[in-house]
């Protein structure tokens, strides 16, 4: 039963094949067996999950069940959960229990889902391998010597390892799509503003966006139905009406115009990964799509611009961790400055401190124009590239990552090597566009992800495109379990 996808579980619960309590117990047993090694969860909520499952079963028996009622999911540990620790993968928030729920969490509670726990992540979502977590690295369920990707590595490993039916995640530069690619699952990053950021611990506010980790596109559509919509508490959430993202999921793809950016099929891309992506594109041609080459001429500058903008925003956002109102405080500070400095130095890990310093430098007097304004101008050029491309095509496809999952510890010598992991995903965040990574093949037994990027607010179309591929292929059914 734990091998089923979220939509399948919804149908099974509806037909009474099993109850939410039975399913929740199965997941909790599996988590108890696997998590000490996989490390996908930071916090497991046994009691809460079982009581929510019981309530869901009761609601169902009274005829009050929706599509998500009783489905056990997990939340990335940066969504605030009332009464349950929200650590953000950091010592700084190791003792932080939020007095409120994030809007996303509240929406899932209202939809009747079961909260199995909070998933591991890179500290403050800063990383591409889940190795910067204060709680230790997450292992890839396909091969436990490998990383699951990051920063949403715990959510990816939990879905891939069948330790939940689906999970929330966030994506600032690729943190949903790259781990989805490394663990053989479907990862959706919606358009910036589609989902409320209220109650999400902030990293880079102009880029952060919440999304989903699931087995299939249909599962993702069901989760997005719960998450999407305007939120008066987040003034950057879009007031464009949310849709029923399952409504058009089965539409034929006849006439769909696919663009392949030449820059995403050039040096640095593993040849086998490339072949696999081209095979996937050929599958879409069989489904009635046409394919043409396009150009995103400034995409090679996306990582450079991102590593100004994201650290700059992070340095401002993370200034709130001062040891005064919540979170970690150092022992016996001699004065206020000592308290600030030691609290932050002891509470933050190396990568977080590094990015705070890069951001502080980029925003400091004398460097602001050369770095921050320059990066914002590059951001405009990158967005213009996409706008031009989308005049000719409906969706853009390419690899999510240049390669499959890499070994734990193999990319820690130089941060720039790790930053370049997100070479195909980062531009999408800078332009605010929706993107999805779906399983498209295996290389030496490891999953390869196909990235599909859409026009702003084209989530329904992305999910439709991904779903039709999953109806025609079975890569998404491959599992390490």
């Amino acid at each position: 039963m734990i091998n089923l996808g979220l939509a399948q579980i919804s149908r099974a619960l509806g037909s009474g094949e099993f109850s939410s309590v039975e399913l929740t117990q199965k997941y909790l047993q599996e988590i108890a067996k696997q998590n000490s090694d996989l490390n996908a969860y930071i916090t497991v909520c046994d009691e809460l999950a079982l009581s929510q499952a019981q309530a869901a079963d009761e609601a169902r028996s009274q005829g009050n069940a929706g599509p998500m009622t009783g489905i056990p999911i997990a939340h990335k540990d940066l969504f605030c959960t009332q009464g349950i620790r929200t650590s953000c993968g950091s010592k700084m928030l190791d003792n932080f229990i939020a007095p409120y729920n994030a809007t996303v969490v509240e929406n899932f509670i209202n939809a009747g889902t079961v909260t199995l726990g909070k998933t591991n992540m890179d500290e403050f979502a800063m990383g591409s391998s889940n190795e910067t977590s204060f709680y230790g690295p997450v292992k890839n369920p396909w091969n436990r010597d490998l990383v699951p990707g990051g920063s949403s590595g715990g959510s990816a490993a939990a879905v891939s390892g069948r330790l939940c039916a689906g999970a929330t995640a966030t994506d600032t530069g690729g943190s949903i799509r790259q781990p989805a690619s490394f663990t053989g699952i479907t990862g959706l990053k919606p358009t910036y503003g589609r989902v409320s950021r209220w109650g999400m611990v902030a990293f880079a506010s102009s880029l952060d966006q919440a999304g989903t980790m699931t087995q299939t596109a249909e599962d993702a559509a069901m989760m997005l139905n719960v998450m999407a919509g305007v939120d008066p508490k987040d003034s950057t959430s879009s007031d464009r009406p949310a849709e029923d993202y399952t409504a058009d999921i089965d539409k034929p793809l006849t006439g769909l115009k696919i663009g392949l950016p030449v820059q995403h099929f050039s040096e640095g891309l593993d040849a086998t990964v490339e072949q696999c992506i081209r095979d996937a594109v050929a599958e879409f041609e069989k489904l009635g799509a046409t394919v043409k080459e396009i150009s995103l001429p400034n995409s090679h500058l996306s990582v450079s611009a991102y590593y100004v903008i994201a650290p700059a925003e992070a340095s401002a956002n993370l200034s709130r961790y001062d040891g005064v109102r919540y979170g970690y405080r150092c022992e016996n500070p001699v004065n206020l400055e000592d308290m600030y400095k030691r609290t932050r130095s002891e509470g933050f890990g190396t990568e977080v401190k590094r990015r705070i310093m890069v951001g502080t430098y980029a925003l400091s007097a004398g460097y602001y124009d050369a770095y921050y304004i320059k990066a914002q101008k590059i951001r405009r050029l990158i967005k213009n590239d996409f706008e031009k491309a989308f005049q000719e095509v409906d969706v853009i496809m390419g690899p999510t990552s240049p390669h499959t999952a890499f070994a734990i510890g193999s990319k820690n010598d130089d941060p720039v090597t790790m930053y370049l992991e997100d070479i195909y995903t980062i531009a999408v965040n800078l332009a605010g566009l929706p993107g999805i990574s779906i399983p498209a093949g295996l290389l030496n037994g490891l999953p390869i992800g196909l990235q599909i990027v859409g026009k702003d607010f084209a989530e329904s179309q992305l999910l439709n495109v991904a779903h039709k591929f999953q109806q025609a292929t079975d890569w998404h059914e491959k599992s390490p379990v």
Binding site: G327, I356, M357, P415
Partner: protein, 95 residues
């Protein structure tokens, strides 16, 4: 562009971080590498390009200036490191 130890000390102070000598050495090296990556931006002429701060050029939404929150001081202060009579306590600032 590379940065020196003195730059690292200055940035660390601005960011209210205390670094050991070893950490400063490491930071000078790794931040210099990151700046080299960032400097690739300079290869493109952006003279007539408008900076983009937000993907959709959004503007701040405004609402009526009315009270929407209830007083939750006690609830919010439960998670503070140190409070007294509704106040947050910090080391003495003024002698």
């Amino acid at each position: 562009m590379s940065i020196e130890l003195g730059d690292v000390e200055n940035i660390a102070h601005l960011a209210r971080l205390h670094l050991s000598n070893e950490e400063k050495q490491e930071a000078a090296g790794s931040i210099s590498n990151i700046l080299a990556l960032i400097d690739q931006m300079q290869s493109v002429d952006t003279d007539n390009v408008e900076p983009l701060a937000h993907a959709f050029d959004a503007v701040q939404r405004l609402r009526e200036d009315v009270v929407t929150e209830s007083n939750q001081r006690d609830e919010l202060q439960k998670i503070a490191p140190e409070t007294e009579e509704g106040l947050y306590l910090v080391p003495k600032v003024i002698e």
